[in-house]
Structure formats: structure tokens, C-alpha cells
């Protein structure tokens, strides 16, 4: 999840074209055999928003630190922008007949930056590191209760033993807990490993000037060294978009990938033929969130009244200047998304009916909506829309930093926005948010039918069946309205014309390892 300030990029009509191009590129860039004769150019300089926090993928690394992490480390597999997996450190993989054993056949020509070999024992070490409470990895919850253990059948074969069939495993292994670190280096550096990263990636760590930049350099011993097109990459930290943009215009950086790029910047650069603006192929969504176990939000009719009272088109038009899209659902891309379903539409009459049916008007007290302080206009607009159907809403502000912790602690029953980035597997978010056992189910949403659907969908490897089940679950979750979805948008990267090989992953994190200037 990531917080947003309501500023997003433009709706490009050539988005689809770019997505197709990016998708094709994705299948043919770094992880496949690159065409011979590819030149290695010089240094690529990338400006990113927040300061790097940790270069240890298992501990304390932010979602957006992955931009850097994917140059230093590699997962067993990665996903292209359609959500399809392709091999990286694992040449191939298969699922056993029971569905509870996943076997990865590893590449045998891979060494870490420190010279130690990458073997199945390394995979075992990495997973056990995450599962070990002493490590303090925040990703433990994603594997706990699912991965029983990892066995190294031989040096090039790693077998994952699961407590139950679990197709989402591959999606989890693309993110930080699936990145492979060098056991020898972890042992050597101990708690300083986060400052001395050692992986198998196409780039080696050079330096990290805290608060300023991270520099990585071409790894000559990389197993696909011909696919690396840059000699060096420098990731500069620029929390202020104005400064980052000035750096781009001044020629001091080549690429700008900030989380919250203001729409105006994106639009301005789009008009400028010297620059390229690339949207991510997938969308992150935003919703109003309510806690189902706290009155009056335990009243389904009330929640649905709110759902129908929201004029999503107006929000997109006014708050986001027509960028991104109005939507009432949360599955937008991937093989599981339902292109024919878009969730509830704005319907003030139905909203009023629901409100009456809820009985809330018999004892109306104003509802308190907690709004992230960087998106106040959004909160005010929602307030106005609810007022229009007769629902009085007051606003209280919460700082961006405090919003999720307060939601997690259950202090806020009614808040906006809740924003999450997509995963390459539908279970990734659906389970943790809406299954009654999900660790991020801060709405305390409980629908036994949904639980059953999600369990069934996670138990089979048949994609068609899974898609059917997830779509069913989506409709139920949307109708239950503990999350009222209103908006979805891609991320944007701005770069100088001449930068090539830049691509987004499905998870909105750019994969820059194959890029060059």
C-alpha cells in the first residue's frame, strides 16, 4: 500500500499502445538472452522520491526501495506487465500433484557479488531467514502458516513444502521476501548487511550516501551480462518534485520516478517532445474504508447508501483533472480482472432509498470522516456528495503518516483514502484485506462466502477456475461496501528522450536493470 496525495498522471490514449510495447519489451529484456552486440552505454541517473531506507530486502525496505533492490538482487521468478511469470533465477518450476510441493529448477551459472555460488541451499537459507522471528522481517506474515519448509533436493533444485496448495506463492516470491541474499554476506556483515548488500543482480553495490543517493555498478560476472546496457546507475533521492523536475530539465538526471508526481508536471512533460512519459501498465486503486464491526457502519444499508452516493466521475474530473479512471471495483488488470464489470454507478435515488432502509435517519448523528491531510479537497467533495443525499458528515484530519497506523489500531472507523498497489496474483491483496483471517483486514470484514471463494481460488492452479472465483468474490466484496472504491490510476515515470529499456512491473515498481541512456 502506498499513500497518495490525489495527484496523478494523465489518461493517455496511447496507454494501451505503451502497455503492449512495454509488455513485449518485458518478455525480451533482461531476463532472456539478449541480442548479441548490445552496446553498454554509460551512467543512468534516476531521481526517486523518498530516501532509501534499507538495502536488505527482507528487513525495513520500503515498497519503493524495490526500484533499487531489483538491480542488486533477483527473485526466482518475476512477472511481466500482464501478470504472467517468467523465469529469473529459476529456469523452470512445477507444482506437484498434491499442489503442496513447488519445485524450482535453478540456474547453475549464478554467483553472488561476493563470489559465493547461488544454490538451492541459498534459497532455503533465504526463506528460513524470513520465517525466523529473530530476523524481525515484516514479511514473515506472508509466509507463516503457508511455507512449512524448503528442501534442497540437490544444488540446483529447491522444493517448497506448503501446508496447503497455494498458487499465490509465486506472486509473493516476486516481492522483497523472494529476493535472494547472500548467506555468506549476511553472516559477515550482521546487522550492517542492509548497508552492504550482496545479491546476484546485474548490478553491484558501490555506495550509499545516506540521504543523498545510491550508486550501483555493472556486475561483470552476471549470468546474463550482455543484457546489461548501462555501466553504472545512480539513484538520487529527491523528496521535492520541483527539485527533481529541475534536475531533469537541467540534464542532471535522466529519469524521474516519484510516487506522487503532480499531474501538472506529467502533463507539461508530455507536451514536451524532448521527454518521454511512461505510465505503469497496472493501476493502484483508492477507496473509502469503513470498519464493519463499529456502529453505525455495521449497517449494510448505510454502507451501500454511501456507495451509491459517491459521484466518481465528478471526483476524477475535479480532483484528478480527468486523469486516471472512475471505478467501483478493485481488480483492473491481469487475467483475473473482469472487463465487463465496473462496480456500482452513481445513483443518488438508490442511495436515498438505502439510507431510509437503514434506519439511520431515525437517529441521525453526523458521521466523522477521517481524511488524510494531503487530500482534503477529496474529503470535502465526498462530504458534499453525502450531504446531498441527506447524510451529515464531519471531517477530521489525519496526517499521511498516521493514517494507516490509526486504521490498523482500529481507531478510525471511517476514513479516506485507502490506497493499495496491485500484486501479480489476485490473492495477494484479496486475502490479506478481505479474508476474515487476513492480516491487513482492518475493516474486520467477515463474509463466510467470500472466505470460501478465496480458499477455493487459492487451492487450485486452474486459471480459468480461479478467475471465475475471484470475480465472484469481487462482486460480493464490492456489494458489502466496507470499502467503497472510487478511483484507480497508474504511476508515471518521466525521462529524457533517448532512455531505453525502462519498463514497469505489474506491481508499479519500475524494473530499470535493462535500461540505458
Amino acid at each position: 500500500m502506498r499513500t497518495r496525495s490525489g495527484r496523478v498522471g494523465s489518461r493517455l490514449t496511447r496507454r494501451r499502445f505503451m502497455a503492449t510495447v512495454a509488455g513485449t519489451l518485458g518478455a525480451t529484456t533482461l531476463y532472456s538472452r539478449a541480442p548479441a552486440g548490445a552496446q553498454t552505454k554509460g551512467t543512468l541517473r534516476i531521481a526517486r522520491g523518498a530516501n532509501a531506507r534499507s538495502l536488505d530486502p527482507h528487513i525495513n525496505a520500503r515498497l519503493y526501495d524495490r526500484l533499487v533492490l531489483y538491480t542488486l538482487y533477483e527473485p526466482l521468478i518475476d512477472a511481466d506487465d500482464r501478470g504472467n511469470f517468467f523465469p529469473v533465477l529459476a529456469r523452470s518450476w512445477e507444482v506437484g500433484s498434491t499442489g503442496r510441493v513447488v519445485t524450482f529448477h535453478l540456474r547453475s551459472d549464478v554467483v553472488f557479488h561476493d563470489g559465493t555460488p547461488f544454490t538451492a541451499d541459498v534459497v532455503k537459507y533465504n526463506i528460513e531467514r524470513i520465517l525466523d522471528p529473530a530476523t524481525g522481517s515484516e514479511h514473515r506474515a506472508r509466509f507463516e502458516g503457508i511455507i512449512q519448509g524448503v528442501r534442497a533436493a540437490n544444488a540446483a533444485t529447491a522444493q517448497f513444502y506448503l501446508t496447503r496448495p497455494y498458487p499465490p506463492l509465486l506472486s509473493e516470491l516476486i516481492d522483497r521476501p523472494g529476493l535472494m541474499v547472500s548467506p555468506a554476506a549476511v553472516r559477515k556483515y550482521g546487522k550492517d548487511f542492509a548497508r552492504n548488500p550482496v545479491g546476484t543482480g546485474p548490478f553491484k553495490f558501490v555506495e550509499w550516501i545516506q540521504g543523498s543517493r545510491v550508486t550501483v555498478q555493472r556486475n561483470q560476472r552476471y549470468w546474463n551480462v550482455k543484457a546489461i546496457r548501462s555501466e553504472q546507475m545512480i539513484f538520487q533521492d529527491f523528496p521535492e518534485p520541483a527539485v527533481a523536475d529541475a534536475q531533469l530539465r537541467g540534464g542532471q538526471v535522466d529519469v524521474v520516478t516519484l510516487e506522487d508526481l503532480p499531474a501538472e508536471d506529467v502533463l507539461a512533460f508530455q507536451k514536451d517532445s524532448g521527454y518521454l512519459v511512461i505510465p505503469s501498465p497496472a493501476y493502484s486503486w483508492s477507496a473509502i474504508q469503513m470498519k464493519e464491526d463499529v456502529p453505525p457502519f455495521d449497517n449494510r444499508d448505510l454502507r451501500q447508501a454511501i456507495m451509491y452516493a459517491i459521484d466518481r466521475e465528478q471526483i476524477v474530473k475535479v480532483i484528478y483533472h480527468g486523469l486516471g479512471k472512475a471505478t467501483g471495483k478493485f481488480f483492473h488488470e491481469g487475467w483475473w480482472a473482469d472487463p465487463r464489470y465496473n462496480g456500482p454507478a452513481y445513483n443518488p435515488d438508490l442511495a436515498r432509498q438505502k439510507l431510509k432502509a437503514s434506519g439511520y435517519l431515525d437517529r441521525p448523528a453526523p458521521l466523522l470522516l477521517y481524511v488524510q491531510s494531503s487530500t482534503v479537497p477529496l474529503g470535502e467533495m465526498v462530504q458534499a456528495q453525502m450531504q446531498a443525499i441527506g447524510l451529515r458528515v464531519n471531517i477530521r484530519l489525519v496526517s499521511e503518516r498516521d493514517l494507516y497506523p490509526m486504521v490498523l489500531r482500529g481507531e478510525i472507523p471511517f476514513s479516506i483514502p485507502a490506497t493499495w498497489t496491485p500484486r501479480p496474483d489476485p490473492n495477494g491483496l484479496a486475502y490479506i484485506l478481505w479474508d476474515s483471517r487476513g492480516y491487513a483486514n482492518t475493516s474486520h470484514y467477515r463474509n463466510p462466502q467470500v472466505d470460501k471463494l478465496l480458499d477455493a481460488a487459492a487451492a487450485t492452479y486452474d486459471r480459468n477456475e480461479r478467475a471465475r472465483l475471484y470475480r465472484q468474490a469481487e462482486r460480493l466484496i464490492v456489494d458489502d461496501a466496507s470499502y467503497v472504491f472510487y478511483y484507480a490510476s497508474p504511476d508515471y515515470a518521466i525521462m529524457r528522450r533517448g532512455v531505453q529499456g525502462f519498463r514497469y512491473g505489474f506491481d508499479l515498481i519500475p524494473r530499470v536493470a535493462g535500461a540505458w541512456m
Binding site: 521535492e240 518534485p241 503532480p262 508536471d265 507539461a268 491531510s373 482534503v376 479537497p377 467533495m381 484530519l397
Partner: protein, 305 residues
């Protein structure tokens, strides 16, 4: 301090201009709608980031709201926070100074002065940042308290110095020998003799607090939306610096003007009320260096940031 002393000032061009400016600020704070037909918070959704035109003298921001209107409504926030912080700081500082001076030389005095020293040493913005971050910027009170803390030390020292000086005066000893309580004597003599200096200090402190509030808002820890804040407007406008500089830069002009008015007023008041202010102020800021104080200049830098 009678009002009559001010009249000759108003006659001069600079004094008159200053009075007019103060009047304007006061009216803008109380009734901003007199100066602008626009609503500061309603989102129009059109004409986003428009350059200055006759319709929108300072242009519009990213949501289409008129910039000048927001600046005008921001006056209220700024002055409210500024005056509250100064008042709080004055009250607290005076109370501490009185207590420390009254019990001068005792453990209480020592303790209070160490506390004051501690407040004095930490850079005001650092202290304010910590306090606001902890108390939560959503509550306007935390911003006010955070800004007030930086000035308590100065007031406390000032008042304490005065109290100590007056305690030794002959009329106090005389009054005591006649049976009067020291407390009542101090109350009758300290405050009337100090208030000139306190007024001057307060006006200058106001300019400092205004800058401090803008700085906090710029860092994201000032008063939160929807209350308009100049510092926050600067922060929000910063990212549009290249495409819409008027949004980014005009709130700064407002801050500048407000601070300028305060400093000018403070200087004027000081010349009028207490030309000796600087000397005694310097004397008790450096209690160990009475001799150096005599070579010290009569003017002290007005605004502390």
C-alpha cells in the same frame, strides 16, 4: 503609555503607512470577504493554475481556487496563531520570570533558570518541530504551544531581571520596613515598569512567530487544511514552481509584508517607549558580563528566527 504619544507618529509618512498597513491586515483578518468576491474553499474545478489576470489578480491554484482570496483568508490564521502564541509565551514567561525573581537566589530560582536555559539553547524551530510532531499538527493548539515555547525564555529572563533589579531599590526596602509584603510591592512596581519593554518585545516576537509558523507549515507540520496557511501554500506551490510561479511565490510576499509591518511597528514602539530597552535587555541576557554590556550597542536585531 498614553495614546497621545502616538499621534505625532501617525503624522509622518512612514508612520501613517504603517498604521494603514496594520489596519488593512486587521480588516483582512476579520472580514476578508470585503476584499475578494471569491470563496476560498469552494473548488471550481476549472481554470486550474491560471496566470494572473484581472479576474484573478494573483492567478489560481491547482484546484482553481483564487490565490489572492486564499492569501487574504490566510491572514486570519496567521494572526490568530501569532497573537495566541505570543500571548501564551508572554503569560508563561512572565509568570516564570516573576516567580524566579521573587524567590531569587533560592533553589527554585536556580531550577527555573536551568529550565529557561534549556529552552534557550535548543533552536526554536527544532523545539517547535518536536513538539508539533508529538502533539499532532491536526490540533491547532499544538502549533501554538510549539511556537510559544521558543520565546518563553526571553520573557522569563527579562522579567526576572527586572524583578531582581527592583527588589534592591530603596523604595522597596522602605516599603518592606513599613510592613508591606514584597509580593504586593513587586506587583505594584514591576509590571508598570516592565510593560513598555514587554510590549516592544511582544511585537517583535510576533514577527518571529509568524515566520516560525510559516516554516512549520512549509515542513508540513503547521496548521492543517482546510484552514488556509501561507506556509502551507508555499509548500504546496513549490512543486508548481516551474509551471505556475505565482502560486508558489505570492504567499511568501504576504509573509514578508506581515513580518515587515511587525518589525517596523516594533522599532517604532521601541524608539517611542523605551530607548534604553536594548541595554537592559543585553544586560540580563548576559548576566555575567555587566561590564561588556556597557560597550554594547543600543540596538538589537529585531526579529529572532
Amino acid at each position: 503609555m498614553t495614546a497621545r504619544r502616538f499621534i505625532p507618529i501617525l503624522a509622518t509618512p512612514s508612520g501613517g503607512a504603517l498604521a494603514a498597513a496594520i489596519l488593512f491586515l486587521a480588516v483582512a483578518a476579520i472580514r476578508p470577504e470585503l476584499f475578494s468576491p471569491y470563496n476560498p474553499v469552494r473548488i471550481h474545478g476549472t481554470s486550474s493554475l491560471e496566470a494572473p489576470t484581472w479576474g484573478h489578480v494573483l492567478g489560481t491554484d491547482v484546484l482553481g481556487k483564487d490565490v489572492l482570496t486564499q492569501i487574504l483568508y490566510g491572514t486570519r490564521t496567521t494572526l490568530f496563531i501569532g497573537l495566541s502564541a505570543v500571548a501564551l509565551s508572554l503569560a508563561a514567561g512572565t509568570a516564570i520570570g516573576l516567580a524566579a525573581g521573587y524567590w531569587g537566589g533560592t533553589l527554585l530560582d536556580e531550577g527555573l533558570m536551568r529550565l529557561i536555559d534549556a529552552l534557550y539553547i535548543v533552536p526554536d524551530l527544532v523545539l517547535a518541530l518536536t513538539v508539533v510532531a508529538i502533539l499532532g499538527p491536526e490540533r491547532i493548539a499544538s502549533v501554538i504551544v510549539a511556537l510559544a515555547l521558543g520565546h518563553v525564555a526571553a520573557y522569563a529572563r527579562l522579567v526576572r531581571g527586572r524583578v531582581l533589579a527592583i527588589r534592591e531599590e530603596e523604595y522597596v526596602t522602605a516599603a518592606r520596613s513599613l510592613g508591606g509584603s514584597v509580593g504586593r510591592i513587586l506587583a505594584r512596581h514591576v509590571l508598570p515598569q516592565t510593560h513598555d519593554v514587554l510590549v516592544v518585545r511582544s511585537v517583535l516576537a510576533l514577527s518571529s512567530v509568524i515566520l516560525g509558523e510559516a516554516a512549520l507549515s512549509f515542513l508540513g507540520l503547521g496548521v492543517q487544511p482546510p484552514a488556509p496557511s501561507w506556509g502551507r501554500m508555499l509548500r504546496d506551490g513549490f512543486q508548481y514552481l516551474a509551471t505556475a510561479p505565482w502560486v508558489a511565490l505570492s504567499p511568501g510576499l504576504a509573509i514578508f509584508l506581515c513580518v515587515f509591518v511587525c518589525n517596523q511597528a516594533g522599532d517604532l514602539l521601541r524608539d517611542l517607549l523605551d530607548p534604553r530597552a536594548a541595554v537592559s535587555a543585553r544586560a540580563e541576557r548576559r548576566p555575567n558580563r555587566a561590564r561588556a554590556a556597557r560597550t554594547a550597542p543600543a540596538r538589537v536585531s529585531p526579529a529572532r528566527r
